[in-house]
Symmetry: C2
Subunit: 159 residues, 2 copies
């Protein structure tokens, strides 16, 4: 295994581990727990789950793998804070979106070669990438993994 | 920047970003906030800070860079849950340990070559490493980064 492949594997493994833990946690939540705050006055579970899936649904765009499938999530779960949007996506729908978004990512990631991961992401110009080649697609995935772990830590306070 | 350096840079950058954010957050906490719970009945800030620094102080051992400097942290902040140990490290001392532990890691990391990062970590046998070369020192660092982000997400609920 060459070093590019090994590194891609490391970053994908960390992502996969965090995602599996978070998915399993979410699958075991009751509808009542979905509506609870992770701490008094802080985000509700439904908002954090919507936030994570909205950010993950946008990943194909920055990775050059296609458009968001659920653009309606962004204004509710990213642009607006919790409790400021009246009509929020229902829990059952959000759970289905969680599955669909991550199935898509898993399938797309499986198609990418190690070399693909080392290409610049879509928010970088060629000139910027030349200056900082560590800001590639793999670095985007690793940053999203830290973001996932951050909010998963908050969700876990519920239990 | 050669390819190998780019690889290690991706993982080191994510670690560094999370560490800087968490350090800056901790530096701005009052002593009163240090003694608060991140959510009702959950870990106190002082415990989570002690937990993170205890785990980071153990990193040189698994990376083959030397012994823990503060072995007394492990029984209090890793082996025991919060509020079960009577005598806990004072806040001012913990803040100093935070600086010392991370200064050491920064210096040690700067000395490691890209090839060093791709070597097996100390908890792996040679045979296991041959089967799974992705379980190298870099993978340890990436896992610790996710662990840091997870607990930093919890600490952030305080503000």
């Amino acid at each position: 295994m060459d070093q590019k492949t090994i590194l891609t594997q490391i970053v994908l493994n960390t992502w996969q581990t965090q995602l599996e833990r978070c998915t399993s946690f979410i699958n075991n939540l009751t509808d009542e727990e979905f509506m609870m705050e992770v701490a008094p006055g802080k985000n509700r579970v439904i908002y954090l789950v919507g936030h994570l899936v909205a950010v993950h649904d946008a990943m194909p765009e920055i990775l050059g793998l296609g458009k968001k499938a659920y653009p309606e999530l962004q204004p509710v779960f990213v642009d607006a804070p919790d409790r400021t949007v009246e009509k929020i996506t229902p829990i059952s729908e959000l759970k289905q979106i969680w599955i669909t978004v991550h199935d898509r990512l898993t399938k797309e990631f499986a198609k990418l070669s190690a070399d693909d991961w080392f290409k610049r992401h879509e928010s970088m110009t060629d000139a910027d990438f030349e200056k900082n080649p560590a800001r590639n697609k793999l670095s985007v995935l690793n940053t999203r993994t830290a973001h996932l772990a951050y909010h998963f830590g908050q969700l876990r306070l519920l239990k």
